[in-house]
Amino acid sequence: MSGPLRKFQGSEGVSRRDLVVGATLVGGALLVGCSPADLMSAGSKVNVGAFGPFIQFDPDGAVTVLSKHIEFGQGSSTGLAAIVAEELDADWTRVKVVSAPANAKLYGNTTLGIQLTGGSSAISNSWEQLRKAGAGARAMFVQAAAAHWNVPAGEITVKDGVVGHASGKSAGFGELLVEAAKVAPPENPTLKDPKTFTLVGTARVQRKDSLAKSTGTARYTQDVQLPDMLVAMVAHAPRFGASVKSFDADAAKKVAGVVDVYQIPTGVAVVADNTYAARMGREALKVEWDEGKAETRSSATIAQQWRDIAAGKGPSDLKWQAFDSKGDASVASGGKGAEVFETAYDFPYLAHATMEPMNCVAIVDGNKVKLIHGSQAQTLDQMNAAKIVKTLPGSVEIETLFAGGSFGRRANFTSDYVAECVTIAQKVGHGRPVKLVWTREDDMRAGYYRPLVHHAVRIRLDKDGYPASWRHRIVTQSIMKDSPMPSKGPEGPAIEGTAGSPYFKATPIVDAQLALPEGGVPVLWWRSVGATHTAFVMEHTIDQLALKAGKDPVEYRRALYAKAGEQGARHLAALNLAVEKAGPTATPGFTRGVAVHESFGSVVAQVAEVKLVDGEPRVGRVVTAIDCGVAVSPDQIAAQMEGGTCYGLSAALYGEITLTDGRVDQSNFDTYRVLRMNEAPVVETYVVPSGNAPSGVGEPGTPVIAPAVANALLALSKTPTGRLPFVRAQG
């Protein structure tokens, strides 16, 4: 759900042309002058039926919608099917949804140009595309019926998959299928007025996968079993950047079920007949590592370096990039005493810690590749697999399965574990399937963490206690470094949410800059990306300013949103709805905190009720208001607010990956504590009525809870929070 929506956009000066160059290089520079979609689809075998790439019909009229996006919990496959069913006027109970093949030309994200699920864009980028697909297919049935019955098309009705006419004639999609398939698809079918929707926006949009996921029959990568399949596990280096110096596989090869052992770029792979044998074989390996190029710093050292950089004591060759500036920056640096408020924040590395650890199934036969896995970024996985076997990206076939969570982890520029699996499958060769299994420990120690981040804030206040100038420094590690499309401006994922803040709009002088020092720890987007830290900094700072000014935090925000004008209007509406629904008084024993943040086009406001239990924050009721445009599936929006809040709260309370001399200290859920049933809040969700096109839902519910909790604790104890998580295992 997390994702690189903004990474590929024009704001960073990245054009589709840049992507072609990148793709061409990794693909082996075989095609020049093709569009990226052509290039990445070359070699694909996708049969598109009469009704287009997204809709198929069974002879009995049942509808299958092809989802170009992975389903890993966010519920978008159901939402996408509902959009089609609405315009098609299908019988929702006879609509099913399956994963589309990998093909960037047919199934590219319309926002990104490649096939990738991210940036909370699954519904928003598909909205028009699937409405047209559904309406187009409907028009074909209407045409077919009109011709068959010899009546004007304008008199035909369609309801619940039944085409009808006032004369009493009626026929199901199945009966008209052959004739309808012969009708030329309309270029621009008429779309419904959203006011007439009968499915989208209703409680009838229930998940299509709930039963399979409640019976153990939903198929994940971990469940793939194929004839003759081998299971692989890899011994990875204990420090990032280390490589294999030597290894002894004698004992490993003696383990019953172990088939072979290979050295690969990421470590030493053991392949075996089954998972347990692969694990036992790996335990029997002896590996010596070359750590000459390894990251050996501790996370505490890195955090101190980030703080030093923010304080102007960094290396002289490190560049600062301005991302928001207006007015005289020297004013923002000046001033003293009561008119100045200074604060700083430290955020740790975070693991995604999906329930299903990373894994992949690959079949390599010569330069033919088939991948079977929960692919979040099919096009990237195709590019990286193609690079290994030296073929065209489009000829890498992918069967996308359910994934047991991702939160951003399964989409990265190196396709790390996918590439590892392809490398092993190539060694095995002969088209023999290989399932790469990572243990929880592999997964937790493999990096691709939300980066360690430091913010330093210095605000001069006007006579009424509102910001007159705002100096902001962000220090973090680039998550776009491995991108084939290097960003030209300040890195969006590092600043989004501070950049574009309505509070900046409301402040006359702003001097905001970003520094991206190098680091050896692989880092990545993590559900809600930049907002994971910027929402906290902006929203907790605001409450501290309100406290200093002696004003109510809600009123203080309202005043700033008014100053921000249009840029604060949706924030104000969401805030007002959450405050209204929360009611005037907190639950006895609890203290309230409020926070509001916009991410992925949606604004979320929360009122959280918090108390301390044995010194740890415990969150009870959380009233949430979201403005996400048209609500396609209200209940799934609620589910994402519930889940997003838990995910954000888990990290805020406990989440922290630390390194000691470059070694990751955590390895499993005993050392990386996550939110459990007895600690879970109760989230109420209210949707701000909107006629706008749908915007993000999967991520925007995540970043708001942490500042809301910090603000409640500030109200409770007058103590601000300068470092997350709230509860730490070690100092």
Partner: protein, 184 residues
């Protein structure tokens, strides 16, 4: 060398070595993939099965410890168990990977307590991690299923004294219904 296990009411002969965790025998040898691998050290509950009716983490249970024991997996519930119906009704699953384990823990709870309190649910379910954070719906679905399975009420139960510092009960009381209120 083989062992015989009683799985979902059938005697099953397996080839795996005696120290092999039940999880891998179920998944790799028997193809019962509803039971999931999550952590390998009894921290997350994704691998929960029933052994003689008790919820057990199959990832740390060697098959040599299971001679004569009755093992039941998610596949034994058949798809129409009241918990499974409630899970579908409430749209509990998101990614779904933990849900077999959640349902098996909940099934053991309901077998032991027909009308579980919030504290009972916390106690029984806190060993099962859901990273999607479906906890609120899991709780609601368990209560719903408890209603489905409850014996006819013949007498009002005596009111239980509630400790005033029981934060979970307070949260539950404060939040009122756990139903999914959606504006608009």
């Amino acid at each position: 060398m083989t062992s015989t296990l009683d799985i979902n009411g059938k005697a099953v002969v397996v080839k795996a070595a005696p120290e092999t965790p039940l999880l891998w025998v179920l998944r790799d040898e028997l193809g019962l993939t509803g039971t999931k691998f999550g952590c390998g050290m009894a921290q997350c509950g994704a691998c929960t099965v029933h052994v003689n009716g008790d919820p057990v983490r199959s990832c740390v249970t060697p098959i040599e410890a299971l001679a004569g024991a009755k093992i039941a997996t998610i596949e034994s519930l058949g798809g129409t168990h009241p918990l499974q119906q409630a899970w579908v009704k409430h749209d509990v699953p998101q990614c779904g990977y933990c849900q077999s384990g959640q349902i098996m823990s909940a099934a053991a709870l309901l077998a032991a307590a027909k009308s579980p309190s919030d504290q009972d649910i916390d106690n029984a379910m806190s060993g099962n991690i859901c990273r999607c954070g479906a906890y609120q719906r899991i709780r609601a679905a368990i209560k719903d299923a408890a209603g489905l399975t409850a014996a006819p009420v013949v007498a009002a139960p005596a009111a239980k004294p509630v400790a005033s510092n029981d934060v979970d009960d307070e949260i539950a009381a404060a939040s009122g219904s756990t139903s999914r209120g959606v504006g608009q």
